[in-house]
């Protein structure tokens, strides 16, 4: 079942920087990914882990989804990362180097153990795996179905281009096939597809172009390394007024259809059925985040009642 949670913008915040961690509540991104991996120098791995734990313990009124990017499961830090941060109840784990479904399954098993220990429902902790190597891209469709904890597949272009021994360009032709495989994998599994970061924080025009491109391809969100990028990403993902108007009409139409005892109805000569309704629901949820509408779409509106 597709998840309707908005994840347009996922901000990386280095786990070893108290001044940045304290600002997490302030930014209007949909999610943050507190980083214990690449942003943290080897000498600070322990300190960062403790700092993140303390921060999460004190961040009571959470106003966005919190993921923690742990170190790769093949490193000596990954276990300590999980042991330290999970009791502070993040929403999920960003799993680096998810090259194969087995790696995701391995994390899934560990999370289940922690959930039992912490008295949480099994499946509470979500996983967002990073598809960031050639092998990871090839395995993406299988990885996407490796666990019910998956909220999406996240493409990591920086590491991907490194493993491909190529340079990343601003126009991104070299990423096209990889992006498509990640997208197909995610869509086939009914989960979200999250695009890579855009590294040049001063080039807002190219950021906008890249975000427009990946939105067109089917990505539902994008990672970021600087809060200055939030507004542009949200702006690109904002639905157009006519899309919103049409979506509202679709929801109205399907409600009328249900009252008449059918799941299909014609609107202005076009057939409205479940896939169209699902797309309309997505548009309206996004529109709501942009303050364009205040309707709340729930499962009942999409599927009807039994």
């Amino acid at each position: 079942m597709a998840d309707y949670k908005l994840r347009r913008s996922l901000l990386y915040v280095p786990g070893n920087m108290p001044s940045m961690l304290q600002n997490i509540p302030l930014f209007q991104c949909d999610a943050v990914q507190i980083d214990l991996e690449d942003a943290v120098p080897l000498a600070e791995k322990d300190a960062a882990r403790i700092l993140v734990r303390r921060f999460l313990d004190n961040y009571k009124n959470r106003n966005k989804e919190i993921l923690v990017r742990i170190n790769g499961l093949d490193t000596k830090w990954a276990l300590d990362d999980l042991k330290t941060v999970l009791p502070a109840i993040p929403d999920g784990i960003r799993l680096p180097k998810a090259d194969s479904p087995e790696i995701v399954e391995h994390l899934d098993t560990m999370l289940t153990e922690y959930e039992e220990e912490l008295g949480l429902q099994v499946g509470f902790f979500k996983i967002l795996p990073s598809i960031e190597t050639a092998e990871g891209v090839l395995n993406a469709p299988k990885t996407a179905k490796a666990s019910t904890r998956l909220i999406g597949l996240a493409f990591g272009a920086e590491d991907y281009t490194a493993t491909m021994e190529i340079n990343r360009t601003k126009t991104g032709e070299e990423l096209f096939n990889a992006r498509m495989n990640v997208l197909w994998g995610a869509k086939a599994a009914g989960i979200q597809a999250i695009d890579s970061i855009f590294a040049d924080v001063n080039d807002m025009e190219s950021l906008r172009k890249e975000t427009e491109l990946i939105k067109k391809l089917g990505f539902t969100g994008k990672c970021m390394i600087n809060p200055r990028q939030i507004d542009i990403i949200h702006d690109v993902f904002a639905p157009k007024q006519e899309e919103v108007d049409y979506a509202l009409e679709v929801i109205e139409a399907i409600k009328r259809a249900r009252e008449m005892g059918t799941g299909v109805i014609s609107l202005k000569g076009k057939m409205i059925d479940r896939p169209v309704v699902v797309r309309a629901a997505r548009v309206l949820n996004t529109a709501r985040a942009h303050g364009m509408v205040d309707v709340v779409i729930n499962e009942e509106d999409i599927n009807g009642t039994e």
């Binding site: 304290q22 600002n23 302030l26 930014f27 924080v201 001063n202 600087n226 809060p227 200055r228 303050g291």
Partner: protein, 512 residues
Amino acid sequence: MVRNSVGRLIPETFAGKKLIPYSDPWSLQPHAERSTRAIRRITHNGSKLVGGLRDAIIASGLKDGMTISTHHSLRNGDYLLNELVKEIDALGIRDIKIASSSVHIVHAELIPYIRKGTITGFECGVNGLIAEQVSKGELDCPIIVRSHGGRARSLITGEVPVDVAFLAAPYCDEYGNFNGFYGPSACGSLGYALVDAQHAHKVVAVTDNLVPFPAVPVGIPQSVVDFVCQVPRLGDPKKIVSSTTKITTDPIGLQIAKYAAMVIEATGYVKDGFSFQTGTGGISLAVAEHVRNMMRRDKVKGSFGLGGITGYFVDMLEEGLFEALFDVQCFDLKAVQSIGRNQKHVEITAGTYANPFNCGATVNRLDCVILSATETDVNFNVNVNTESMGYLLHNTGGHCDAAAGAKVSIVVCPSIRGRLPMVRDEVTTISTPGETVGVIVTERGIAVNDNLPDLKAELIKRGAPVKDIRQLRDEIQAVTGVPKPIEFEDKVVALIEYRDGSIIDVIRQVKP
């Protein structure tokens, strides 16, 4: 000691002057004539050149116990005040008071002359090391910090009689006409010097760029200038126009600017006739950028931009977004170039800008002003004078003037600096009283003063993150904790004068 209306204990006298405790921003009404000075009759039509600085000091008749002034638009590039004091000292003159429009960090060179008794007081705000040493009790020299409007007032009313004004004149002729627009030390508007030129008992134009008569356009005319003298250099051009003129890239600063722009939009004043002031600094410029986009989007033709003027305002003028710029000081080279060629970019005096005691200062016509703060408190008071150790470090500038004048004054301030909370129970020093502050904007939310209920309701309607100022304080303190208060001695080392001449706060010596 008397407690003033904002709760600060004010001594009855300071440096031999009787003090008026602050009561409110509006009611103090003087009953007196403006200051006067002797009529002159200069009949010769030759040169007023007297030679160098030392000759000018002698010609001006400067004596022990007198007061001198300079203007501050050469800022940290200024050579004049330091050179002047060296010459005064060499002539054996003592007990001189300085009533410049501002004293900058570069003037720390005056410290030996303060110790020696050449300089014995400041009738103006002082930035930097001198003020810090006075705060520590290491330097004994009374300081009276005045706002830009307040300083103009003190000269115009005669409360501070300036015996000789030595005015840096970047483009000057031998008969005393000058402007600040051209030459190697060009600084643009001479808004502060214009007051001294009218009210000082003797006026000396000091130039490093003597041009053939007439120096036009005439900013300060021959008719008020007694002498002209030449120096090799007035200042270092690189440091004259050195303010921050780039938009901030700090995400926190940008968030504050975004919220400040929401406030401006919610005031409803961004329509034809809109008037606006903002300073330099990355956040202020980011707000100006938002304002520019709003004005473009809504095709607004504003009336005027005010204050220290930056290239940003110049661009807005040239784009037709404002009818005029009123300029007391130019903050960057683009502003300097503009004021020299564009008649809509108008040089105004500090008195016209902000003196409360005239028929109406330009600040009175402001819709919105963006102001900064070192710290703020739950009563909306703002401190721009003292820093976290309690040392006097900064001038008031036009802060309290613009706050009192504008319909909505918006203070932008990060909620945390270093590890310190910037919304507190009580600011260390009150520079600007809370009743003249409309809104305090931090990255954690927007606090609206109760005296603007409509604006508050409008912001809430627009979904802006409006918070009660006490809630904001609590949220910040939850991160930072409550800092230990700074400890002060009883000794008062400086005054913070409100724009009307009453005393809003004092600076006490900091305990070691």
